[in-house]
């Protein structure tokens, strides 16, 4: 799961006018760009950055939901949640592989995540204090991610677009399981309903922030749109998400925590209240409630696993040597 909030890649590029025009012509013909095709350096850099952030988001995103696997309330929920979090890890794998086609290694990208240099989706810097947060994440966070990722299935870079097709199918399943958790809570006891409402209150605004700054404040959108990495602006996607989600909340009998939210008959869209961009900036820059914990957990897993990875490499080398000796002896 991921959204387009914080790409911030430098898309400046130094190729000749002629090269750029030929590349743009391919993009405009809706041809897919493949890893070995000529491409502007800025295009490559933007994609490495975006796919890397997307992959990191999947991996860090395993932590807030993983927080509830051992406490899931039924066997069915426990299995569904473990499978879902496993899917997120799988998305991370595809995405790292897609980025590797552009000449950057998974190790390099991992290092940038662990050192805090690479960004990941800020939404995962919020805590999951209750079971209802698992429902709300599936419903809202995966729902917001889908809004962003469906257009990415048509992204001009082939490996990314193809990875997104499977990812979207799985995310859509996740979104439904999240909504089903919310539905069960909303139809349950008073304390379950309250748990669901509180989770909606916690996740609504951060979910809207997942789409990134308003178009008027977003500096990097234009070139990505031109190269068809991105197909819709931040505000367009945010509106789509609100329009799809508000009736779902109504169906649950829950209240969206925005007193200014109302249907606009003229625009056929919901007008919504002001997003707290100061909070957004604080979380993006490392000052959310869980930023430090997330990076610490990722670093701990990586450091604790160092001896395992080293053992695997050394063993593989021993095995290769043995085969080599056996082959020489046979000759």
């Amino acid at each position: 799961m991921y959204s387009q909030g914080l790409i911030g890649a430098d898309s400046s590029t130094t190729e000749s006018e002629e090269f750029l025009a030929a590349f743009q012509a391919r993009i405009d013909r809706e041809e897919k760009i493949e890893p070995n095709d000529p491409m502007p350096e800025g295009y490559r850099r933007t994609l490495v950055r975006q796919i890397g952030q997307h992959a990191h988001s999947e991996i860090v995103g395993m932590l807030p939901e993983g927080n509830w696997i051992t406490r899931a309330p039924s066997l069915r929920r426990k299995i569904a949640l473990l499978a879902k979090v496993q899917d997120e890890g799988g998305h991370g794998l595809y995405l790292y592989s897609a980025a590797e086609t552009l000449g950057v290694s998974r190790e390099q990208m991992t290092e940038e995540l662990l050192s805090g240099k690479a960004k990941y989706s800020s939404i995962f810097n919020y805590p999951t204090p209750t079971w209802a947060d698992i429902g709300a994440i599936g419903w809202l966070v995966d729902g917001a991610a889908i809004m962003n990722q469906i257009p990415l299935c048509r992204c001009s870079f082939g490996p990314y677009a193809r990875a997104m097709i499977r990812v979207c199918k799985e995310e859509s399943f996740h979104q439904r399981q999240g909504y089903e958790i919310m539905m069960t809570l909303a139809r349950g006891s008073e304390e379950q309903k309250q748990m669901a409402q509180e989770a909606l209150n916690r996740w609504w605004w951060p979910s809207l922030m997942m789409f990134g700054p308003h178009d008027s404040d977003s500096t990097h959108g234009d070139q990505s749109m031109k190269w068809k990495i991105k197909r819709f602006s931040n505000d367009e996607l945010r509106q789509k998400f609100i329009t799809a989600t508000v009736p779902q909340a109504e169906y649950l009998g829950l209240t969206v925590p925005d007193p200014d939210l109302k249907w606009n008959e003229e625009t056929k869209l919901y007008d919504h209240g002001e997003i707290d961009w100061a909070e957004f900036k604080a979380v993006v820059s490392g000052n959310g409630q869980m930023n430090r914990d997330r990076i610490r957990d990722r670093n701990k897993a990586w450091d604790d696993g160092a001896w395992v990875r080293e053992a695997a490499l050394v063993h593989a080398q021993k095995r290769a040597d043995k085969q080599h000796i056996a082959r020489e002896a046979a000759e």
Binding site: G66, R71, L75, L82, G89, G92, G188, S189, R309, E310
Partner: protein, 253 residues
Amino acid sequence: MATAETNVPAILEIADDCLILGHRLSEWCGHAPILEEEMALANMGLDLLGQARALYAHAGELEGKGRSEDDLAFLRRERDYVNCLLVERRNGDFAHTMLRQLYFAAFMQPFWREVAANSTDATLAGIAAKAEKEMAYHLRHAGEWVIRMGDGTDESARRMADAAIELHRYTGELFMASPARQKAIADGLLPDPESLRGEWDATIATVFAEAKLEMPEIRVMQKGGRDGNHGEDMGHLLAELQFMQRAYPGQTW
């Protein structure tokens, strides 16, 4: 012959083994040493939790008291869980986790094979046919890692040897038949675990040889799980597992 209600305790032994080990594997989620192992550990955990679910549902039906799979999985007292001690051992490092998995899978794969082929209980035989394939994968995966770590670096070899000394003493219980188990054996539901010892010994010896690991000499095997006498880690595991069901009794999730 129809499986009797008196066989429920024997089925619960296996169901509890699967639940508790599946739960332990799920604790790794997000913390594995490598992304591919995130996938594999979750996969193995999912297999075991799936097996547990099928077994609890079957046990609940046989018992005929209206207890659901969740009642059995979440709402018993610690003393009433009858898993073997091996599966409740804490994860420790990756060497401990993989060796625990190897020990268990090397027993369960032939165990399920026998249940699938010979059980008088058609439901159990059906569960077994699927579970055997799953455990064959666990056996291969865990075996490969034990070999990698045993014959890897000095550190990984030391950690592997520590894990063997720590965990080998819990393997004896796999072959002990509680009175409940003896009844199920007599009724033709389950194989005698003792009959699987030769195969288990051979599997473990092969992996250990390739891993350059010494077989620890354990004089006294630990036991007690089948009687509900668990180690100190078990209560903490159950505190997490049962948290929601205990904190919000009688609700639907």
